[in-house]
Amino acid sequence: MEKFGAEILVDSLIEEGVEVMFGYPGGVLLYIFDVLFDSPINFILVRHEQAAAHAAEGYARASGKVGVCMATSGPGATNLTTGIANANMDSSPIVAITGQVTTQLIGQDAFQEADAVGITRSITKYNYLVKDPRDIHRVIKEAFYIARTGRPGPVLVDVPKDVSSTRAEFEKIEKVSLRSYNPVLKGNPKQVKRAAESIAKAHRPVIYGGGGIIISGAAEEVKRLAESQKIPVTLTLMGLGGFPGTHPYFMGMLGMHGTWPANRAVRDCDCLIAIGARFDDRVTGKVDEFAPHAEIIHIDIDPSSIAKNVPAQIPIVGDVKTVLHQLLKELQTTPPFDNSQREKWLEEIGGWEEEHPLHYHSSKNSLKPQFVIEKIYELTRKEKPVITTEVGQNQMWTAQFFKFDEPRTLISSGGLGTMGFGFPAAIGAKLAKPERMVIDIAGDGSFQMNIQELATVAQYKIPVKVVILNNQFLGMVRQWQEHFYNKRYSHTCISCQPDFKKVAEAYGVKGYRVEHPAEVGPVLKEALFSDEPAVIDFRVEREENVLPIIPPGKTVYDTILAPPSISAARRADSRRMK
């Protein structure tokens, strides 16, 4: 049957199960938008294309499905790039569709022309320029397949105006076949056997899990591995929720702002089981001294992530869930571990936990950002909300003080560190999970990077909640200036800012401002549990720091710890007195 390219495109999207799309129209997209007008796809008009890409990623990460965004040629496409790069770094499956100028005009500096495929080559898993409407269906099928399989990632499809507006024969393709792309799922059995033996003979093993656990849906397998083998677990920012945050074996996040016990355990372990993690510099610090005594088992679907930064003695390429199944089975026939050694190890870690727990000095008069996060956690435990964050201090405090028990409940910009990610990502997450509470924990700097999306939540009545930890600073950079640049706060003070409550109200969104600790609970209760969007401006203590911190390129022994809490100091005193 003959159809317009635009119809083939939209039909193909529907066939892929697309229910929601985020985007912004433009001249070269007119044919496509005309078809979208009566399609069953719920199209969400954002107010900046960057937000469309982040919302698509939020949708993908909350649901596990492919997120879709669309933007016009030229500036529309370039505005998408930050979101595409973000999805690429965090291995999120999104398909970005861009309009392109008419085929004959390509390369002629036409109005709103940009080489979208060229620009996004290094920030996509793959990308296409469709030059013939007959290719649209196959390309869309391949794009979704590539985006969601293997190590997921963004795929861009660039569609020239004439391709969407020309008729072509539409023939359905049932299956995608790409001879050059066959991700390996099953781990090499010999390597799995070696890994099982290494785990069984270890005295001080540690599981170091990353985003791969969540992507592959392996939280249950990780838990079984940890519990059956008595292995303490630490997670990266991307991995949080991949193992219950309230589990007694959970040591907290590791790395630069990781907990003391997690970083100490990695330092002292004799077997490090890296699961779907990539030894990012924010995790390892000084690479040569990362897990120096450990035999490293590295399970990852992406062979190029293995031994990229830290050599692994037992690399296993494969899907995390599949490999863990193999490993659990193998462990059943491996000689058992030495229980007394494991008990000793867990006890030692417990000691480090007691020595330097995560804490902050609470205050009766001024508002502590950590207190706000603890309060949100406490009030919403039953709801198991999806939390998105912006980037910086707000993100690290969330990672430290909120306990994530389930996968896909934390959506944060891990790799790229994109300010302005959290709010549009929350919009996407809410559309993926309408029944869940969705909260963006933001900073005043980050929120202003995509503040225009207040119009989107107002228009579609998307009840996401924005919690601003407002310290009137670009807080993380300010903190580094405090630690490493003699408190010279060069261009990090942003006290010139709007009244966020009024801004929200101007958009037709409920706004709150909180200045005293006593107001936190009541306002949160009202704002979070209402069925409309809300913005809460928490005026927090301005120079609160994220601690502990391992300075960049340093080791756990260089950690700057939070000043000891009174109770810890008392405990230490009482030990000394004994």
Binding site: V117, L178, S180, Y181, S304, I306
Partner: protein, 160 residues
């Protein structure tokens, strides 16, 4: 740091070459030479890339190449028994006196005279890296005016 010849079978599609060369430039790796052309199967191209790097850099390059959607297969030819060849076109200064010597030398290397102009002579020569270097060293004293190299192509000896 050593020289590595990497041979890649890749889908013959537009954009594939940029994706692959982009991998090198985006990581600050230099490409010494690069040659691409379709294979016996016109839907597949063969790329031969010569790069310089230490073991870890080259291992990472190989993994990144393997990860590319368009890439069918990658070999580090330098780790195998292989036939490597490069074609060069070189123009040298040639006087009546030197002409005969240049021709004699060319014959010894299996090179051909492909153009004679006033005061210069163009030669075509093919060989492995060492032969090409030896030939060029011998030509140097005559005065090399222009040198065009194809970049290496390589084939594994075991027929794999």
């Amino acid at each position: 740091m050593s020289k590595h010849t990497i041979s890649i079978l890749v889908e013959n599609r537009f954009g594939a070459l940029s994706r692959i060369s982009g991998l090198f430039s985006a990581r600050g790796y230099n490409i010494e030479s690069l040659s691409v052309a379709p294979t016996a199967d016109p839907t597949v191209s063969r790329m031969t890339i010569v790069t310089i790097g230490d073991e870890r850099v080259v291992e990472q390059i190989m993994k990144q190449l393997n990860k590319q959607i368009d890439v069918l297969k990658v070999w580090n030819v330098s780790e195998h028994d292989a036939i490597e060849r490069e074609l060069i076109l070189v123009r040298v200064a040639a006087t009546e006196r030197s002409q005969d010597e240049i021709i004699r030398m060319s014959q010894a290397f299996g090179a051909k005279v492909v153009d004679v102009a006033s005061g210069t002579m163009a030669l075509e020569m093919m060989g492995d890296e060492q032969e090409v270097e030896n030939f060029l060293n011998l030509l140097k004293p005559f005065g090399v005016k222009e040198l065009i190299r194809s970049g290496a192509v390589a084939m594994l000896k075991d027929g794999k």
